[in-house]
């Protein structure tokens, strides 16, 4: 083997090693993030479980009212499984979740898994639409303001985002109902109809009102992120390189700016997901949020506990997706 062949061969080996190392690093970060999500999800379950048990006062007695016999209270306690040891209770609860068994509604006697299964899609659809609307509104807005050199535009942007941050979603929804439902008559005030494209008619206004909490934050974070990116040297290299306009906006401005933004947003997405409860109530949409309110009114503890947990898991899922999106947009974003 000649000298040059040797070096070539050793380079090939090096290349292979490096490739594998990259792939392994990717797998490791991804796996690490999955494990972290699972750990948080576990704690979400623990906290949902603890809510009723750590509540001050006696939820059981409260549910039954003042004038019941001691036996009735004890019977209800047994029914809820609260008479057993805490560890046994937790084991029952936890293994139940793994089996897909969330217990029974105290009122309707229905399987909680079934209730969640029927109503979850509507809630997920509202959340998805809200995030979509928020992106459609915020991204062009943030880009426009960041590129604009006008002080007035920047000032207006700051003032308007401050104001819209302070407008409650339920008030926004009612005003939307007044304008689009009554005045223009293009949105139904209540009701819901099944399948996917048809139900958009009922979902667009709730989702639009719901994204109101997300838009000002998303627009602001993204705006300052783009302003930072604009100062970066690689943007100038992009200009000099003569990159096509569309590609320039995407690869040189949005992608590097969106990456840190989506990672930062998980809290506000949580607030917005909480807002779906209100939207479902206002617009009478059959999601798990409305079920939650009904259950709270009826002190249907197993349902309350399970739906709260499901909401927690939804947020865990979305923040995982957010981190992953950030990572795919910009590999420098770390996942841990």
């Amino acid at each position: 083997m000649s000298e040059s062949q040797k070096t070539a061969a050793s380079q090939d080996v090096k290349m292979e090693v490096e490739k594998n190392r990259n792939r392994a690093a990717l797998r490791r970060t991804f796996l690490g993030r999955v494990i972290r999500s699972v750990v948080v999800a576990f704690w979400v379950m623990v906290i949902a479980f603890s809510l009723i048990r750590l509540s001050p006062g006696d939820p059981v007695r409260m549910a039954l009212g003042a004038d019941v016999t001691e036996e009735a209270v004890e019977e209800f306690r047994t029914q809820l499984g609260l008479d057993k040891g805490v560890l046994t209770q937790f084991w029952d609860y936890f293994s139940g979740i793994l089996r897909g068994d969330l217990g029974y509604s105290y009122f309707s006697g229905r399987d909680v898994t079934e209730i969640v299964g029927t109503h979850l899609p509507v809630t997920l659809m509202i959340i998805g639409l809200s995030i979509g609307f928020a992106a459609i509104i915020s991204i062009p807005l943030a880009l426009y303001v960041a590129m604009s050199k006008s002080n007035t535009v920047n000032y207006l942007f700051r003032a308007l985002t401050s104001i819209s941050l302070a407008v409650p979603g339920f008030f926004l929804a009612l005003m939307g109902l007044l304008v689009f439902g009554v005045y223009f008559n293009i949105a139904p005030a209540a009701g819901y109809e099944g399948a996917f494209p048809a139900n958009l008619k009922y979902l667009w206004l709730p989702a639009l009102a719901n994204c109101g909490s997300l838009v000002p934050v998303l627009a602001r974070v993204l705006h300052s992120s783009i302003v930072d990116t604009l100062d970066e040297e690689f943007v100038e290299t992009g200009v000099i390189r003569g990159v096509r306009k569309g590609k320039f906006y995407w690869s040189y401005l949005l992608r590097p700016s969106l990456a840190p933004t989506v990672v930062l947003l998980s809290y506000m997405v949580g607030v917005m997901i909480g807002g779906t409860v209100i939207m479902e109530t206002i617009f009478s949409l059959p999601g798990i949020g409305r079920e939650l309110i009904t259950a709270v009114d009826g002190r249907d503890y197993p349902v309350v506990q399970s739906i709260a947990m499901i909401f927690g898991l939804i947020v865990v899922f979305f923040s995982f997706v957010g981190d992953l999106t950030g990572y795919l947009l910009d590999r420098r974003v770390t996942l841990s």
């Binding site: 750990v39 948080v40 999800a41 704690w43 979400v44 623990v46 906290i47 949902a48 809510l51 009723i52 509540s55 001050p56 006062g57 939820p59 409260m62 700051r158 401050s162 104001i163 941050l165 302070a166 407008v167 409650p168 979603g169 339920f170 008030f171 009612l174 005003m175 109902l177 007044l178 439902g181 009554v182 005030a189 809290y267 949580g270 607030v271 997901i273 909480g274 807002g275 409860v277 209100i278 109530t281 206002i282 949020g289 939650l292 309110i293 259950a295 709270v296 009114d297 002190r299 503890y301 309350v304 506990q305 739906i307 709260a308 909401f311 927690g312 939804i314 947020v315 865990v316 923040s319």
Partner: protein
């Protein structure tokens, strides 16, 4: 000369927002103090025909029970602002202390356990957690404050912990330690003030989320109980009439709620800009 120019700019930066915010908040508080006392209507008394539109006698009209909306809107100022202020203060103090202790603690086990609990609580959508808590402890002002505190301290704790880790390694803390000051003194004189500047700044923007949550809970019928005038509750009472033309019982309390939130948003924005201005110099 250049310093003068900078100073001028420094005063300008954010000041307008802060003044506007304080003016809006102040006028709301003053109106809340005066109007219910001098008005000829009582918040819960029949003032006129039910659902009378805004007129010279009833500036904001009357609600479905014939109560004067104007008086009720301003009668609600204190319960709404007060609940929100307490709902921010308790988690601010509790969260800052717990977070700081975690940040400087060397005990890995406690750190990771409490850290996990914090992460777990933070994973819940704020409103959902509060609603679920209320299911177990019942509605009412006290319950709201308790439920909000139980979820919100974790947010502050997370911010405080991150900050405390940084502050703890800062030169002045190291210096104080070398000088042999007591742990307690270092904690209260050096670490907590520097950590809390961050959590206090967050408290302002959190106030907006909390006041909206307080109103939202009453709106859902889980918060402050009627007949106490409260913005969220008033909006709840009026919402079904909104689509049939009676807008005033809903819109006016809604505007009052937005007014309070916007005031704090302006103050928070102004202060943030001012701090950033200080930071860049």
């Amino acid at each position: 000369m250049t310093t003068e120019v900078k100073k001028k700019k420094f005063i300008k930066e954010g000041t307008f927002g802060i003044y506007t915010g304080f003016f809006m908040l102040g006028s709301l508080i003053v109106a809340g103090l005066i109007i219910p006392r001098v008005s000829k209507y009582k918040p819960n008394d029949l003032a006129s025909m039910p659902l009378a539109p805004p007129s010279r006698a009833n500036w904001f009209g009357t609600d479905v029970l014939g109560r004067d909306v104007f008086v009720r809107v301003f009668d609600a100022v204190f319960i709404d602002l007060g609940t929100a202020i307490i709902g921010v203060s308790i988690p601010l103090v509790v969260g800052t202390v717990i977070g700081t202790l975690l940040g400087i603690s060397q005990n890995k086990r406690v750190n990771s356990l409490v850290g996990s609990i914090i992460d777990g609580i933070n994973a819940f959508p704020f409103l959902v957690f509060v609603i679920a808590m209320i299911a177990f402890i019942g509605p009412g002002v006290g319950s709201i404050v308790l439920a909000i505190s139980l979820v919100n301290w974790a947010r502050y704790a997370r911010i405080a912990r991150t900050r405390a880790v940084v502050v703890n390694q800062q030169g002045y803390v190291e210096a104080a330690r070398t000088l042999g000051f007591s742990k307690k003194r270092i904690l209260f004189k050096h670490i907590i003030p520097n950590v809390s500047s961050e959590t206090r700044a967050y408290a302002l923007s959190d106030f907006i989320i909390v006041i909206i949550a307080v109103a939202a809970l009453s709106f859902l019928g889980l918060g402050i109980k009627p007949p106490q005038a409260e913005w969220g509750g008033m909006i709840r009472d009026g919402k079904d009439l909104l689509t049939v033309g009676f807008w005033w019982p809903t819109v006016f309390p809604g505007i009052a709620l937005c007014w309070a939130g916007i005031a704090v948003a302006f103050i928070s924005e102004g202060l943030t800009r001012r701090m950033r201005e200080v930071g860049t110099r």
